[in-house]
Point group: C2
Chain length 199, copies 2
């Protein structure tokens, strides 16, 4: 039997509220920065009561973290890395947008807070690894494995070390501010990576 | 005129108190972890009043951070990197102790808290860069410059990118737990680095 719009499904209403809260948290974290963000402000923008947020999340950190994961999961959309056969081009297609995101002041305002929360809370680190980092590293290893099969990388390449090389230098530069982050840096890093990883 | 021990120099007494506080903060941060550490506990172990600590440092974060910098400055002792002419051996001599420190559970307890504080507080990041990271990267660039002069590295090597490659992957593995950190990892990283940096 068809539902009418005047008898909304509670599960669907819950899901709509949850999405509104995550969207509000992501927007406000970007606009205000993490420190100035409050649960009250998230509730007001999402059009829900504070208690609705506290029913699903124990703290401001938890809801902002969830919003960050949700936004990045959507953006990554299944996390397919390109495999055109041209490893250099595919690595550039991976590192250029990563550099662009890290250099974006809007990302900066929430990214550093998220990164600090992850370090201080082992539960958040586990969730970050399970939902975002793990899948990213897995598709990266898959792309490198494909290059190994094509004879472009050494057969005995340690893929775990390789992913540290792919993401570590850019992450280090962002976290500690060792230099500017731009497309030229991403491209130069790809050149260095290929030298490091080739047979 | 010689001072007697019954008329202590106030400046010297201050310095002794300051050192006792830094030592107590470093010990307690390692023993208890950052979250459980209190100013009261630091004062008690250092044999000073709480007010003495608050006269010199505005917060727990500030005193623990200072203790961390002091400990690492002393350990680094002028921060001379070896220059034996053998770049592979010298990079191993750099990355093996770094890997050992990062894998040490005692360092883990305070290192993550410090790392998070640095990300949340731009003033601490500036101080960390001025007192510890900056000098470390400078001597690292010096060692790589010497290898350039010896023809072991490309003349046009971007030294800022090179130091990100030297420290970034190890730092990434430690921060996000992407794999085990041991001597074998440090050695494999040196091999990859040399391939990346050579002409």
């Amino acid at each position: 039997m068809a539902r009418t719009s005047s008898t909304p499904d509670p599960a669907r209403r819950n899901e709509r509220s949850r999405q509104a809260i995550l969207t509000a948290a992501a927007e406000l974290a970007t606009e205000l920065g993490y420190a100035k963000l409050t649960i009250e402000a998230i509730a007001a923008r999402a059009g829900v009561g504070k208690q609705t947020i506290y029913r699903w999340w124990p703290s401001k950190g938890a809801v902002v973290f969830d919003a960050f994961l949700a936004a990045n999961e959507n953006e990554a959309g299944g996390l397919d890395l390109p495999d055109t056969g041209d490893l250099a081009a595919d690595l550039r297609a991976l590192l250029r947008p990563a550099a662009e995101q890290l250099a974006d002041p809007a990302f900066e305002r929430v990214g550093r807070a998220i990164s600090a929360e992850i370090q201080l809370d082992p539960t958040l680190l586990r969730e970050y690894r399970a939902r975002l980092l793990g899948p990213l590293l897995e598709v990266t290893r898959d792309r490198l494995r494909s290059a190994q099969r094509a004879g472009q990388l050494a057969e005995d390449l340690d893929l775990d070390l390789a992913v540290d090389l792919v993401y570590g230098p850019l992450h280090y530069r962002w976290l500690l501010g060792t230099g500017p982050i731009d497309q030229a840096y991403a491209d130069a890093m790809v050149e260095a990576l290929l030298r490091a990883l080739r047979p």
